[in-house]
Structure formats: structure tokens, C-alpha cells
Symmetry: C2
Subunit: 492 residues, 2 copies
Amino acid sequence: MGKVITSMKEDYAQWYNDLVIKGELADYSAVRGCMVIKPYGYALWENMRDALDKMFKDTGHVNAYFPLFVPKSLFEAEEANAEGFAKECAVVTHYRLKSDPDAKGKLIVDPEAKLEEELIVRPTSEAIIWNTYKGWIQSYRDLPILINQWSNVVRWEMRTRLFLRTAEFLWQEGHTAHASKPEAEAEAKLILDLYADFAENWMALPVIKGIKSANERFAGAEETYCIEAMMQDGKALQAGTTHFLGQNFAKAFDVKFSDRDNKLDYVWATSWGVSTRLIGALVMAHSDDDGLIMPPKIAPLQVVIVPVYKSDEQRSAVSEKANEIVRSLKALGISVKYDDNDNARPGWKFAEYEMKGVPVRIAIGARDIEKNVVEVARRDTKEKKAVSMDGLAVQIQNLLNEIQQNIYHKALQYREAHITKADNWEDFLNLLDDKGGFIAAHWDGSAETEENIKDISKATIRCIPLNNEKEEGRCIFTGNPSSQRVLFARAY
Amino acid sequence: MGKVITSMKEDYAQWYNDLVIKGELADYSAVRGCMVIKPYGYALWENMRDALDKMFKDTGHVNAYFPLFVPKSLFEAEEANAEGFAKECAVVTHYRLKSDPDAKGKLIVDPEAKLEEELIVRPTSEAIIWNTYKGWIQSYRDLPILINQWSNVVRWEMRTRLFLRTAEFLWQEGHTAHASKPEAEAEAKLILDLYADFAENWMALPVIKGIKSANERFAGAEETYCIEAMMQDGKALQAGTTHFLGQNFAKAFDVKFSDRDNKLDYVWATSWGVSTRLIGALVMAHSDDDGLIMPPKIAPLQVVIVPVYKSDEQRSAVSEKANEIVRSLKALGISVKYDDNDNARPGWKFAEYEMKGVPVRIAIGARDIEKNVVEVARRDTKEKKAVSMDGLAVQIQNLLNEIQQNIYHKALQYREAHITKADNWEDFLNLLDDKGGFIAAHWDGSAETEENIKDISKATIRCIPLNNEKEEGRCIFTGNPSSQRVLFARAY
């Protein structure tokens, strides 16, 4: 009966894939590394997008749309950025197909329709956007520009995984232009806070805000800030990044402004993004062996009502009550579905909605009506209890809030229990293998040491937490002096 | 002072471009044929998208997302469709760049990273979607599938114009799968009605619903339905299409279902779309020589308040009143901006918001406060009058509704005055040259005649209106018998 998923303990990677596929979030496609986001997964993304979009707009940002393609000459203008993405670019070289003279009904690329200049399918849009900003910015009066874009991008990853790493993914990318360095830095931090707020209060995903080491910085950035989350297998996941870009792109694209004193200077920049990857984080942070667990605030469906009946008479009595409940829930802005599909038994439906992580299930039968109660089951703890129909909607509303909090606190507890200090190299390796999680350890600050640690242990520096405590110590790898611990982890 | 635009009479095409650029809807980009949609234009698109999206969801549709790329072998599977789009396809042939050995800091396409199979950047998604549906559909219980996608598509047009015809554009594409022919046909008509409802009641754009001639049908469709609008230069614009695809794509991708009697049959299909092209229609249908005219229901900004003051004291008194008005308008769900920017004079602001087509402008000065009035100017008629501050918000709300109606009726009057009957070839040509608009004329029904008429006159059959009156007559071109008039026009 129903769909069976691999248990988390047995095979974490397979458990994850089962959740995504059988929870109907996404499907594989005929295109290498690209996925199909199914309606249930897309509804989740819409809820995430709408919440984020409102936060962006409330902080003065506006949306716009820039071209999918970047001419190669623009792409290569900011060299660090270009180098960072060059190895994973889809390249358009031709603009026409023609009939294959050797095979009827087949098409071939028309060699006469070769582009003079190749077009890169955007892996990120700094280049095309800063080339555009050049035409928009003359004076400090044109600043700041606070633009965000919701779009698809393509990075030709060799090893892909649904949501976590796909050749094409959906995201938002903010690209702001400022008249001063402090203003741009403040923007990068403002959005970092906004991302953390979204992750914690909407996705119920606790995150650590921090700064990336130089090795892990965005190609072309002066500083990369990040939010890092912890998954249930002890691996970290970068959930969002914001970049202070300095004047790098302004210099590459010659974007200058005259300030209040009529002096010319290059414009200061930030960029920042979160993507459909967050859906992978959501799945891995909260779900269990029975399926997905959706935080109520972004759940595509918050409440499902399943009728239990043996006769048409019972069915009609139950449906009447159920429809009353639907109305009362909708009046409170709660999304609800009454599933009276006659082709499936209640038990099958229970399993199906558990699989999909619907936060609250209400079952209602003929006997319940006599007693003026319904059975309310919460997905997170799987507790069930009889609840009076009087004032039911408000109780459900409170329960949804409670579930949201509980999911967050469960993930937070797990995360807190998985930050461990290591003071020597042996402990560091043992912790990584036996326990996982974040390991707080001293590092001498050199890129070379970081590389060596990564090569041997597969762990990377996830971040240097903001407001990190200063503490004198010795690098776990080299023994050189260090002034603070940083967070290492194996990561997605 | 302010921006000057070419008058409509002087040069219609330039007038249109001026409106788009100076109204800040869009900008040219560094990519051939691709545009940048600026924040003001994108806000308009968001309002259009949100209204349409709600209509789709209210009629049972859900959103999903399919890959940007279509492998060539899938693309060519439905031959009519492939042939229709083959000549305007952007083709990805490589997945990596590398450093140019001959030019430091430059990149070249890595010849070793050639794809085994080329990828087409989707010009439309029937192929990739029907290839996916094959895995989702086994039985009638899996039907209907009512999926819509909001996405970008690429068609390599040789002559492009902002919004009207761009190499990349944004759109929605619905792709539905059904168990029967009548159900699919009903879906195509349902969405046609939905599009007409949206065009008329949101965009204030009167449209004629009709059927396309075989020549003008979507490549791969059995029947194409359309809504056709009339622009102020007498040219028609196709504002949306819905397609009954028969079993063509199901056959091309071998998508069968078992019906209630367990018999296998191919699945029936529709597809339908509207795009950012609608913004071009909006601009051309309503605007005047002073700028854009936005229908209030989708205007990015419905009301602007401009303060008029001579001293700081006046300014602060005016601002206090203005902020009260802002609050009262927002309470009614009206979008409003109080523009107290001190760097621009009121006259400059008046011109700027006229250019942008903001439906209602409120000016408020010190003397107005004494009299307890404000000056309210409506963009459509440019009428100004003093309005009491008592109950102002409700009056503005009513005015916005009136403007919405007025814009629609003005466009409708123009359209009605530009449907003319022609009963012979000479009249037909003269009407096209002298008056433009739709010409209702008899046509013998043959594709060859249609082609000949198009070659000579540049007019195409825009549609055979739904519920067209039957009328015996003679084809204006061949003199052959005809049973009804069809609508011809020169078109965008």
C-alpha cells in the first residue's frame, strides 16, 4: 500500500531522492542534469518566492529582467568572475537548424547560421547587468540601484542531484549599485540578515551567519557572506550568499558616477542569491522516514481533511461537516483541501499526505459527528487526538504555529548538538567520520592550509561566524598560531 | 524640461519606441534582439502575471517548471512543430570555455567540450513537456493534467522590436492533457475566454475572439484560437492564442492512456500562451503624445501625490496632509506614492508621471489645505479638478474605476470604427492604405488565395470570428463563392 521510501539510516542519499520523487516535488528530465519541478514542488517554490519577494520589496528593492544570454566578450570582462564560471558554461554557437539532407524528418545545425560571437547562457548575471548599469548611472542621484531578478541560470555541473545541484536552476539574484563602500557593505549585510530571517522564520531552518574564507569566496567578490545550515546526516549546506563586490565590476565595465562634489569614482556593488537548492535543504533538514515534513508557513497545503464513511448517507453527512470546516479554515487564510476522492481508502490517503508532509490532517467520520469532534493528526510528531469542532479553526491555526516552532526547534537542537570543538588533527578527523556536523577548530588563516585540510578530510571551512569569539589557539593542521575558531564541515 | 517624445502622427514607430524607453518600461541590451525589462515595466508584468495566474488557478490549473533546453532528438519528434521553429532556434553546442592560448585573459569555446547531442533553447515547450508526460500518464485517472509554466523562451527573430518581437521573451505556456477530444477542445475555448476576459477587464483592451486560418495556425496544432486587438495606427495585434493540438504530440511522443474500458488511446492535448508582447499592445492601444496611459487595474502605480510648497513650513503642512491621504488610499488597497523629492519641481514631476501613465495625480499645496481640497488630475482625459479632502479616498477609488472603463471604451470605439466591410479588391486595398483597421471581406477559403492576398496587400487573415454571421458572397480576390466574411488586417 502506498509508496515505500528507503530509510534515512539505511541510505541517506537514496532516502533524499525517494522523498523528492515520491513526495512529487521534482522528476528527472530528458536533459542531462536538468530537472522538472512538479506542481507540488513548484507550489512550494512559489510560497518561498512570494515571502522573499515581499521582504525584498519591503526593504526598497524592485524587480527587473535582464537577458538570458551573455556575449562572450562581456562574460570575460571581469576576469576573476569569468574564470570562476568558464568551466561550466552552456554556449550558444548557432541560431538556426535545417533539414538533414541525409535523413528525412531530421534536423541538423545549420553551419551557415554560426554566431559571430558566442553567447553564454547566464550562470549568473553580473556581467550583463553591469554592462547595462553603465548606461543608467551618471551621477550619485542615480544611486543606489536596488534591483532583484527572478530567473533561471545554467551551470554545467558534472555531478548533479535533484534541487541540490542541477545544471539549470531557478533563483533570485540581487544586483545593487552604490555610491560608497560602507553603503554597499551594509547592503550585503542587510540581505544576509534578511536571508537568515527567511530561513529561520519561514523555512524553520536554523542557520549560522558568517563570512567565507578567501578560497570559498564568490568569483569576483571582495567578501562573501553566507548562511550555513546543518542537514540530518551531519553535512552542512550553504543556504544563501551575499557578496560585497567592491568596485570590481564597475572597473571591468567602466561604470563611474560623479559624486556630490562632482568627482568621478567607480560605483560600489553587491550581489546576492538564493535558489531552488533551498528546497533540497528543506527536505533534508526536516523530513523523516515517512516522508516530507513541510513547515506550515510555506507548505503548499497546510491542512487536508479526509472523510471516513461506509455508506452514501454517512458520506453526505461527513461532507457537509467537512465543507463547514473548509470554510472556517479558509476564512482564517489557511490553505486546505477536502479529499473526498472515492477511488482511494482513508489509510492510503493518510500515507500519501504524510509522504507529502502536509502539516495537519483532519479525519472525520460518522461517529465523530455524533461526538462533535474530529481527529487531528500533526505531521511533525505524528500525534493524533480528538478535537472538538467548536472553535476548531482557531485551534488548527494555533497548531500550525506550534508545528512551525517545533520543526524549527528540532532542527536547532540537532544543529546545536552538532557543533563540536576539536583541538587536534586526530580528533578533527574522528569527529568528521563518527559524528559529523560543524567542527569548531583553529586554523592558521592560510589558503594553503585550508586546501590541505580539504584534500585530506573532505571538510571545508563553511564560515567564520559573524561576531565570532576571539580565542588564542593553534591551527589543528599546522600548529601555527590562530586567533579564532572557524567552522569546518563536510558539505553539500 | 522633461523628456520629449515623437508624436504619434509624425512617426508611429518612433512614438512607440519613445514611450517604451522614456516611460522606462524597457531598454535595449548588449545581446542582439534581447531587451532589458526595467523595474517599471517589470512591475507592470508582475501585475499582469498575478492577475492571469489567479485566473488559471481559479480554473483548476497548477504551475510547474520544465527544462530550458530541448535535446535535438526530442525537438524534431513532432515534425510540423519542429519545422515551424527550426529556423529561429538558439542552439547550445558546447558546455565549457577555456583560456585563449593566444590572448591573455580572453576565453574561447573549448572544442573538447562539444555536446554529443545539441540542445535547443526552448522556443516553446511542447516537446520537452510531452516527453515528460509520457512518464506521468498511464490511465484516465492520471488525466486531465492542467499545467501552466511561467518562463522565458527564445525565438531568433531577424527583425526585433521592444516587447513586440524580441529574441527572448517572458510568457506563460499552458500544456494540458485530456482523455477526450471534446474535453481538450473545451479547454482551448475556456482559456480563450479567460484571455479575452483578462485583456478586456484588466488591460482595457477590447479583443475579437476567433479561429485562425490553416496558414496562420500554430505549428503542430489542429486548430488555433486567438484574441485579436486593434492598435491606434490601424494595425492588428495578436494578443494571445490557444491551440487544440489533437493527438499530434501524444503520437510523436507515444503518450497513451487506458480509458475506463481499459482500451488504449493517445492522449488529447492543448497548449496556450500570452507573453510580454501584451505590454507592447497595452502601450500602443492606450497611450498618447504625452506618454503612457496605464489601465488602473494593472498600473504599477495607481496614484501619485505631488506636493507644492514654497517654504519649509508649507512643506511640512503639506506632507502631513499628504501622508494622511496615503494612509487612507492604502487602506482601500490603492497603490500610491508620495513624491516629495526636493530635487525636482512640481511641473517636472507632473510631466514625468504623465509620461509613465500613472492614472491619477493628486497635487496638494498650502492654499489647498486652507480650502480643504486637493487638485486631482486624471491621466486619460487630462481633466483636473478640485476635490474635497472629505471622503477623498473613496472618490479616488471611484475615479480609478471610471478611468478603467473610459480607457476600455475609448479603445473599443476606435476598434469598432475600424472594422470596415470591403466587397471588392480595389476597396480592400484602398481601405488598407487609407484607413487601416480590420477589413471584413469574403475569402474563398483556400490557402493559396490567402497567400496571394498577403503577398500583394501585406494583410493577413487575423481570424474568423467565433459565432461569425454566415453570409453568401464572392471572394474579393478570386471571385469564388464564400459563405462568410473573415477579418483581414495588416498586423504586428
